[in-house]
Amino acid sequence: MSFFLVLEERGGHIERVSWEALAAAHRLAPAGEITAVAIGAETAALAAEAAHKPLGKVVRVEHPLLAPYTSDGFSAALYQLFQSQSPTQWVVLPHTYQVRDYAPALACRMGQVLIGDVTGIEDGPVFTRQLLQGRLSGSYRHRGNGPCFVSVQAGAFRAEALNAHANAGPAPIEIFTPALDPAQIRTRPSEPFRESAQTVDLGSAQRIVSVGRGIKAAENLPLVAALAQALGAELAASRPICDNGWLPLERQVGSSGHTVAPRLYLAVGISGAIQHLVGMKGSACIVAINKDPDAPIFEVADYGIVGDLFEVVPALTEAVKAG
């Protein structure tokens, strides 16, 4: 039986979320049974980095056609690896945009379905993932004998937990060379680029007032801007506000925007979808104003007011000014 953990590289290093996925993998098998996979055109440094973690072995899946990343290249290479070492029982991955892009196709090629964006693993194993944008959670099971594909949500498992495992020495490293043909790669990606102007620095703001779709219309924004001003806070927003062009993209907090960790984060009319939460849950003090007592934002908030923001926000602005 083989157990694979597919690592993800970013800027020459293995992304932290890969180690969180390793922590999740430890819930499914002993460390010594886990094979970490470093995949790309040049994987020596990545593999060396991985060999010091609590796992059994590292395999370098290396081919010039694996840079830049393409779904076709990664799916074909990993498929060959998993077939060569069958029976593969587990494939654990970090739930990144890249994994979202290829893992469902790869699993399908093996007659399987990825259990994606997992936040918890209980005995069974039973996998927990969010439903309805975090308003509910669901318990999932894998049926049948094929390999079980699981991707792990960023922040759900603790990479620090790995330090408790003592390692005898670096894990052995093997090389696997997939057979890839340029004609197999049907997409041609460009270098990544950025668009938005960088005129505010949300990352270093001490206080942030963030506004979501609950504000309903651009005309209502001055209401929250006044609160931000009274608090001496920067104004930020959830994605739909920036998508609508009501605020510039550089003020967006979340997985496709900025990650912030101010002393005070005040969320107004924001539901608390995971893609928003990853960008702000490290804030020291989180306050939520929302009319829905079951909104997921309250799961991470220290203080909350359940009510209509059109009443609460002006009252709060007054109270701040008075205080």
Binding site: R100, R143, C285, E299
Partner: protein
Amino acid sequence: MKIVVAIKQVPNRDAPVRIAAGGKWIDESDLEWAMNEPDAHALEEALQLKEQHGGEVIVVSAGPERVAATIREALAKGADRGLHIVSDDLGARDALGVARLLAAVIKPENPDLVLTGLQSEDLGLGQTGVILAELLGLPHATLILHVEKTDAGLKVKRELEEGWFQSIDMSLPALLTMQSGGNKLRYATLMGIKRAKSKEMRAVSAAELGIELAPVVTLEQISAPKKQKSTQILSGSAKEAAAALVEKLKTEARVL
């Protein structure tokens, strides 16, 4: 260009949800339904491509009877015809099972382009489009904000993490999963709603497609999420709650 858009009907975002007896899914009895938001953006992109380059836009949706209303909405916005895979047991299928149903009706259409939303607002699996591409043997790209037709095929704008983007060139036929926010959604006009009534809408039952229900992954139970922090809810009138909050932020959290 012949474009197929796969859309899903989901509970209205603001509708309160309750767990149904038995705990397997939510109580659907008096829910309001809407077109999944990223799917609405996929439809909009398809309509814009058709306006620029001509062709046909076909919408496909799987689900029970009520799904017909969402297909009609797409027709009213400008889609040319609809395909409804009538299925009352969609929830018992996993993402592969649903993608197989969609593939069975899309394949004979031989489209140049297949668009889906990047994920649904209810299950949030984010997989159906990618699996569909695999089943149809099409190249795919995900998290797409904008599509441009080129001589060689397509140039698409893909969203990456933390405010980065990338463009991808690919040939047709292809499949794209669309991210919300890349285009501005249109409203159905009165004229559009009238016209939609006479547009073709074909219903096929899932049973007719002969795709067995053999899920690899099953949803066993749903529940209220576990809280990560204990939140102090400040009650009273807006004024009272606001005053209490300011007090807490000053003396307890010490952030003011």
